[in-house]
């Protein structure tokens, strides 16, 4: 699914990050849920705290204009994880019909992006999971991107479409009394 006029992806290199950049196997540091908040105030009383380091394929959600080198508006970059169908063992996205529903936009928490057919970076369709939002220091993310040598970048307007769905996930409103279904 790679139209020559409106390609979904291009290859990116270096430490210039844009919205839509896909960082494979990116380290994500997660604090423990049972972190003692009171003990944090008295850090000396803590021998050490264990953080979990996971690896996720992530996509940059921060706006490109906020990441311009030398004119950064943010210090941390927002990232969401990417998964392919084989990552789901159960549930809607373990099945083809679930991916079709997601493709049609019926799952607010998910956004599907197309398969990548760029020569050295073939990939199956993936889903962006908005339920998990990570942040990493921008400088760290730049360094990591540099180490990747090459990475895939989601291009406009597809990344704008992703960004729009991301915003929609956080601004959705559940109505207390909904309109009954039309029959």
């Amino acid at each position: 699914m790679q139209s020559s006029r409106y390609p979904w992806f291009e290859v990116a290199r270096g430490d210039v990050l844009e919205q839509g950049d896909i960082l494979p196997d990116c380290p994500i540091f997660i604090a423990p849920g049972d972190l003692d908040v009171d003990a944090l105030e008295k850090a000396a009383s803590l021998s050490s705290v264990r953080f979990d380091c996971h690896r996720f394929d992530v996509i940059v959600m921060s706006q490109t204009c906020d990441l311009v080198k030398g004119r950064e508006k943010v210090q941390e970059i927002l990232l969401c994880p990417l998964f392919q169908r084989s990552d789901f063992e159960t549930g809607e996205l373990s099945r083809a019909d679930g991916w079709e529903d997601a493709r049609k936009g019926r799952f607010p928490a998910y956004h599907v992006i197309a398969a990548c057919t760029l020569g050295d970076h073939p990939a199956d369709p993936k889903v962006v999971d908005f339920r998990r939002v990570f942040s990493l220091p921008l400088s760290f993310s730049r360094n990591f991107a540099s180490l990747c040598e090459e990475r895939v970048r989601l291009l406009p307007p597809y990344r704008g479409h992703l960004s729009q769905d991301f915003a929609r996930f956080f601004m959705r409103v559940g109505l207390p009394v909904d309109i009954p279904p039309f029959k």
Binding site: H54, R55, D87, L93
Partner: protein
């Protein structure tokens, strides 16, 4: 001059002329320390429906309350030699607030009462000092992350 152990900024929105004491008082408080990551606590006094006297009282109470949150409050003798406005009697609440300051800081003299009367502002913004400390972290490497279970992806 009243100085506190954390920086304080008092932006005034009023354009009216202020006394030389007021200028000195305000400028002496603008000292946000770069080591701090300030958390602003803004106190706005809404004057709608209140008399001028009630607004003034609320401003003084807000000032006393904010100062009571400081680690220490020092009142230097030099400020009481400035030309103060005619002071008003403090309410029992304001006196209680000042008692809090004295009990916690132990450095406030009774002349603070007169200083509070001389201050007239619409908003007070006080950064809260954040203590810096070092946390030791060990990393547990979990491998490739998995998606969350999706019991209800329609939401």
């Amino acid at each position: 001059m009243i100085s506190t152990t954390w920086g304080t900024s008092f932006p005034t929105s009023r354009q009216e002329e202020s006394s030389s004491f007021l200028d000195g008082f305000l400028s002496s408080l603008v000292a946000i320390k770069s080591a701090h990551v300030p958390e602003k606590i803004e106190v706005g006094v809404r004057s709608q429906g209140l008399t001028d006297a009630e607004v003034d009282e609320k401003k003084r109470m807000a000032t006393a309350l904010r100062l009571s949150l400081a680690d220490e409050v020092y009142l230097e003798d030099s400020c009481i030699t400035h030309d103060l406005r005619e002071s008003q009697a403090l309410t029992s609440t304001e006196i209680s607030m000042l008692a809090l300051i004295q009990s916690s800081a132990g450095h406030v003299s009774e002349d603070l009462c007169g200083v509070l009367d001389a201050v007239d502002w619409d908003m007070v913004a006080i950064p809260k000092e954040r203590k810096q400390s070092t946390l030791k972290v060990t990393l547990r490497f979990m491998g490739k992350g998995k998606p969350l279970p999706d019991p209800d992806p329609w939401t």
